[in-house]
């Protein structure tokens, strides 16, 4: 079962958020514990420091606590919460050069990675993901780890669906450069971009 499985249904999330809006601390606790793992894994892609990850999660739920009453149901609760975390994380990173391990421009070093037979596939991909610009990496995480649709990612990141698709496309292109082979299959066999209709 993928890791993006939700621990609470959409309806449960909305009920919890309504309770939070009424000042119910226990509902906030439930929501926090329900989202902590997902957010921690997502934010770990931004910062390797657990303290930073937790700070962003707590900032996120501080905003949830203060603004729950403003949620109008225009999006899913999960999209709303993850969108808050995304914006806080980006702001945190941009305000702290020391955390800018994640690079948000296209000025990436031309670093290549050559996985050998002894490396784990997860490590290969993790290493390759770390070479991606921040927005591309997060788009990939939102799609593949958290299982969001194009429209949901557009809502979370606050950009048009076309930008989401473009970021994902460029992320895949860069992964192609950093993953010359995937699981022992030659790159040319894995990534073939010419149409063969």
């Amino acid at each position: 079962m993928p890791a993006n499985i939700r621990q609470y249904s959409k309806q449960q999330d909305e009920e919890l958020l309504s309770a939070v809006a009424r000042g119910d601390n226990r509902a906030l606790d439930t929501l926090y514990l329900g989202y902590h793992r997902r957010l921690a894994r997502f934010l770990a892609r931004i910062s390797p420091r657990y303290e930073t990850v937790e700070e962003i999660i707590n900032d996120t739920f501080m905003v949830v606590w203060q603004h729950a009453k403003e949620f109008r149901g225009a999006s899913r609760v999960s999209t709303w919460i993850i969108g808050i975390a995304y914006r806080i994380a980006l702001k945190s990173l941009r305000g702290n050069d020391g955390l800018m391990r994640a690079q948000s421009s296209d000025t990436l070093p031309e670093e290549s990675f050559d996985p050998t037979g002894s490396a784990e596939l997860r490590d290969w991909i993790g290493h390759a993901l770390n070479q991606l610009p921040l927005e591309q990496r997060l788009t990939m995480e939102l799609a593949y780890h958290m299982g969001h649709s194009i429209d949901e990612i557009a809502q979370i990141t606050g950009c048009p669906p076309g930008t989401v698709k473009a970021r994902m496309f460029h992320a895949r292109e860069k992964l192609r450069q950093h993953l010359p082979a995937l699981g022992g299959i030659a790159a040319t066999d894995i990534f073939n971009d010419s149409p063969s209709l």
Binding site: L33, A44, A143, H148, F191, N192, D193
Partner: protein, 232 residues
């Protein structure tokens, strides 16, 4: 009938492949992509490659996490902010009283009341002189909060706010200028500033302006201090 240029269609489909893999394409797009895959071996290969990446990324790793420690810090932070702001919002009938502002760790106010009670008990045990010294040093209102104690208000204070610790002085000033506010007190130990208006705008307007800034972590209007009853 599909009149699209096959190359353009091919590129459109390639952009959608990640969402075919994660199962989040719309029904219409899903049918379109699958029809294309039946004819395009390059896209089938790309789809297979993306599926392998997805399989790895969608499998959760056993990262050690401590959500309870983080939650406790969040609770403490909320309680500190609420204490500083002196929020005593009217109870919502839809929320059971026992669920309101209550958590497993106990609310700050309950804990503070317990501490205050302990202090009184210790003072009594130590004798009246100690109790008198306590009263002399705390000759103003009680420095602890109970369920009914309102926080002291500063003259002109209408809003209390908490800003991100990373906010610079110039950022802070720009935000206050934008919301037509000025600092009359603070920050407290919890980082709370007391703000007064510089222009005759509505408090709600200033609150909206404040909350529009990402640097503002918390902003609430102050409940007006009760007017003291005239002496009998």
């Amino acid at each position: 009938m599909n009149a699209r240029n096959p190359t353009a269609e091919h590129h459109d489909i390639r952009e959608l492949l990640p969402w075919l893999v994660n199962g989040r394409l719309s029904e219409g797009d899903c049918g379109r992509v699958e029809a294309h895959l039946r004819l395009c071996s390059a896209c089938r290969d790309e789809c297979a490659a993306q599926r392998r990446i997805y399989d790895v990324m969608s499998t959760d790793t056993a990262v050690e996490q401590m959500p309870m420690a983080g939650l406790n810090r969040l609770r403490q932070r909320i309680e500190e902010v609420e204490r500083a702001v002196g929020l005593d919002a009217p109870p919502d009938p839809a929320c059971p009283p026992d669920a309101r502002r209550v958590n497993a760790a106990g609310s700050f106010r309950v804990r503070t009341a317990a501490i205050a009670a302990s202090v009184i008990a210790i003072s009594v045990a130590l004798g009246m002189p100690a109790a008198l010294r306590w009263n002399q040093t705390r000759h103003t209102s009680a420095a602890y909060y109970t369920m009914t104690t309102a926080a002291a208000q500063h003259p002109g204070e209408v809003i209390r706010a908490v800003f991100a610790p990373t906010a610079t002085l110039s950022e802070l000033q720009a935000i206050l200028d934008d919301a037509h506010l000025k600092i009359v007190s603070g920050p407290t130990e919890a980082g709370v500033y007391s703000l007064a208006m510089t222009e005759p705008q509505s408090i709600n307007w200033s609150l909206r302006r404040l909350r529009g800034h990402d640097t503002v972590r918390f902003a609430e209007a102050l409940v007006p201090a009760p007017i003291p009853a005239p002496p009998p």
